[in-house]
Symmetry: C5
Subunit: 84 residues, 5 copies
């Protein structure tokens, strides 16, 4: 799993049907690189989270057919930019 | 998922049969690195999109046997080079 | 598999239910980049370990539905920072 | 999928039995990094190709048990070093 | 598949049970970065090999439940540091 920080929500049009009703967040890693993660938990900008990729990303949703390759698995307690 | 921008179409010969009738696009990431993504939505050059990899890429097509490892999942609203 | 070193434990709230009762460790690689791995063995900070990713990470737990994409597979004997 | 260029054939001994009768090519990416891809199409040095990884690499062969993680999916028309 | 060179054997304690009786090797890539690969063939330090990752790594062993994400698939003939 990777440690990432929530940047903001992501709004898309013409979205794949399996992702249509899901919350997507822009996340950044320690180097500032951006990715997009599905959020089944309810995170807010600034939260440090762990994300999982691959098949684990789909298992971490409520429906394995959901077409995510990156899903938020938990909010990290006691983490700051200095720990990164 | 990754945030990428559509560069152009990709034309191939001797293509794998599962990909034969599919639209492929050259996409670039924030660093300018190029990849090729299957486009089930209909994107045009300059669109910012989210792409998913791995098994999720196949689930995002209409036939799981399609041999893609990168598929476009949606067009992003309100995104510009400055957000990247 | 990758060679990584245990940095510390990771405490999360609102964790995905499959990960809820599992031990998670922050690990670092030779370049100092941090990841999070599930620990089914019982490691302590400073241990050098091998980690496996992808589906192998789930197979290395006692329940394949566990949503990990990185799991510790063993503690390395006779390894030091100089070997890295 | 990635855009890569055929460098040369690869000859191995003691090869895994599933790969034994298959053509393998050394391919390079835009940065010059080398990988090895299974070639079910018949490419020659200098051809620009698209390659797929992961499970898609196995689906792009005629037998899903073949132990490839990178397979050539098509030869690109109208591509040159300048496009890279 | 990647081109890597055998560095040395790897000895671990408290190893995952599926890996317990298997030979593991430390391998390096062209940049000198180290990984750990399962060796079903019998390689010696200095051999240049191809390695496969993901599910292909498990298929290249004699038991798909083995928790490897990197397996040696063959020894390369006629390869030297200059080819790298």
């Amino acid at each position: 799993m990777e440690i990432q920080r929530i940047v903001r929500d992501l709004v898309t049009t013409k979205r794949d049907s399996w992702l249509a009703a899901k919350s997507l967040r822009v996340v950044e890693d320690a180097s500032g690189a951006l990715s997009v993660a599905l959020d089944p938990i309810g995170c807010k900008p600034g939260d440090f989270v762990i994300t999982m990729g691959g098949t684990a990303a789909r298992l971490a949703t409520d429906d394995r057919r959901i077409t995510t390759d990156l899903t938020i698995g938990g909010i990290i307690d006691h983490w700051s930019v200095d720990d990164w």
